[in-house]
């Protein structure tokens, strides 16, 4: 699971959960494909995704993967983010090149744990947990 997906996932489908975002990420193992970055870095893609991404959640996710592979990222979106090539490059690495293969996602409201195995987050819930 890439951090891009983590940024979009929410547990709002669970019963009595209002926002369910952001899911707390706990990483036990992750693969980092940094070698592909230099050739495939796509500023347009990054800009487009940055309009959708919740930046504070991405910063938290970056902290979670820092135990495996630290990637620097400023705590706040710089004012000139659309032109800032180094910032876009950092964000691209974070969103696209870190693949969390094992870990957990925790719902911020109910503390329900969703496991990540083989890079696939398991969001299945029992019928009585869903409304």
């Amino acid at each position: 699971m890439k951090l891009l997906t983590h940024n979009f996932l929410s547990s709002a489908f669970l019963k009595n959960v209002k926002i369910g975002y952001p899911l707390t990420l706990k990483v036990t193992s992750a693969e980092v494909h940094l070698q592909i970055v230099e050739s495939e870095f796509d500023p347009d893609f990054t800009k487009r995704m940055l309009t959708k991404v919740e930046f504070p959640a991405l910063v938290d996710a970056a902290k979670a993967v820092a135990t495996v592979k630290p990637i620097e990222i400023p705590t706040e979106k710089p004012a000139d983010w659309e032109q800032n090539e180094t910032f876009l490059n950092q964000v691209y690495r974070l969103l696209n090149c870190v693949d969390v293969t094992a870990g957990e996602l925790v719902c911020p409201e109910t503390r329900r744990v969703f496991s990540i195995r083989d890079g696939i987050p398991n969001m299945l819930a029992n019928e009585d947990e869903v409304d």
């Binding site: 997906t5 979009f8 547990s11 709002a12 696939i120 987050p121 398991n122 819930a125």
Partner: protein
């Protein structure tokens, strides 16, 4: 045609062997590609723009491959772990995968996707696989959460196989209740095999429903079923020549000759009637 959704829940039906069979069958692959292509067309995404799409019931990522080939980023959602494993093993699969039951809802935050497609998945939701499951409620929950995670003005296209008109009306009613408008687009309505039903749902505002393909062109996506072909068994072409005719005599002489028997040569008198009785 037997319907797999009658046989049990999808996560059990698409087990390891079935997933592999499904993803290596060239007939299925071909049809899935064509339907995904058409669904993408029906999404009517802005020209030249690369979008973030959701693939509901992505399975082994056959439909997602089309999305990826067209430059879009996609996230796939499926209930079968085995299908997702097949997708994961496939190195070409560039999408992200999430294990989730569509009837429980889409696990995404509001407004992130520019569109959603679903190929041959929706009919699975119309069946209850346990006493607790209520198809109506599950469909509604699915459409409501899907509506939430789509951005305004975007579309969702579902290709599915309705059993009858009641079923498609049932699905439409839930979609309307969730706030979608739109309707069915039926391609090749007059063909039993090539007929494909697409449910095109739109968020916000009245938009024009795309038009269906009414006449079968060369690119129709049904393969003739060889089991159903009736071979021409006794037509005039294969009929035996009439007994006593020249053709019959020649055939018989040829047969005897091949058996190594002594046969009189064929001349202009062969097979002629004698003028008078001797």
């Amino acid at each position: 045609m037997s319907r797999p959704e009658h046989s049990g829940p999808p996560e059990l039906f698409y087990n390891e062997t079935e997933s592999r069979k499904y993803s290596s069958n060239s007939h299925i692959i071909q049809i899935q590609y064509e339907m995904s292509q058409r669904a993408l067309e029906l999404l009517a995404l802005p020209e030249g723009e690369k979008c973030l799409l959701l693939d509901v019931g992505c399975g082994s990522g056959l439909s997602g491959e089309i999305l990826g080939d067209n430059g879009h980023t996609w996230v796939g959602m499926d209930i079968s772990q085995d299908m997702l494993n097949v997708a994961k093993e496939d190195n070409d699969c560039d999408g992200e995968l999430v294990l989730q039951d569509m009837g429980a809802g889409c696990p995404f935050r509001p407004g992130v996707f520019d569109g959603a497609i679903s190929i041959s998945a929706l009919q699975w939701l119309c069946h209850a696989n346990s006493k607790k499951e209520n198809p109506k409620q599950r469909l509604l929950q699915f459409f409501q959460t899907l509506y939430g995670c789509l951005s305004r003005g975007s579309r969702a296209v579902f290709q599915f196989y309705p059993e009858n008109t009641d079923q498609s009306e049932f699905i439409m009613a839930q979609a309307n209740q969730a706030g979608f408008n739109g309707g069915l687009v039926v391609d090749f309505p007059n063909s039993a095999k090539a007929k494909k039903v697409y449910l095109v749902l739109m968020t916000g505002g009245m938009q024009r429903l795309p038009s269906a393909i009414l006449h079968e062109g060369q690119n129709h996506d049904a393969v003739t079923n060889s089991e159903r072909t009736r071979w021409n068994k006794g037509g005039p072409r294969n009929a035996k020549p009439q007994k006593g005719s020249r053709a019959w005599i020649e055939a018989k002489k040829g047969r005897m000759e091949r058996q190594g028997k002594e046969v009189r040569p064929t001349t202009k008198y062969t097979g002629r009637r004698r003028k008078h009785a001797i």
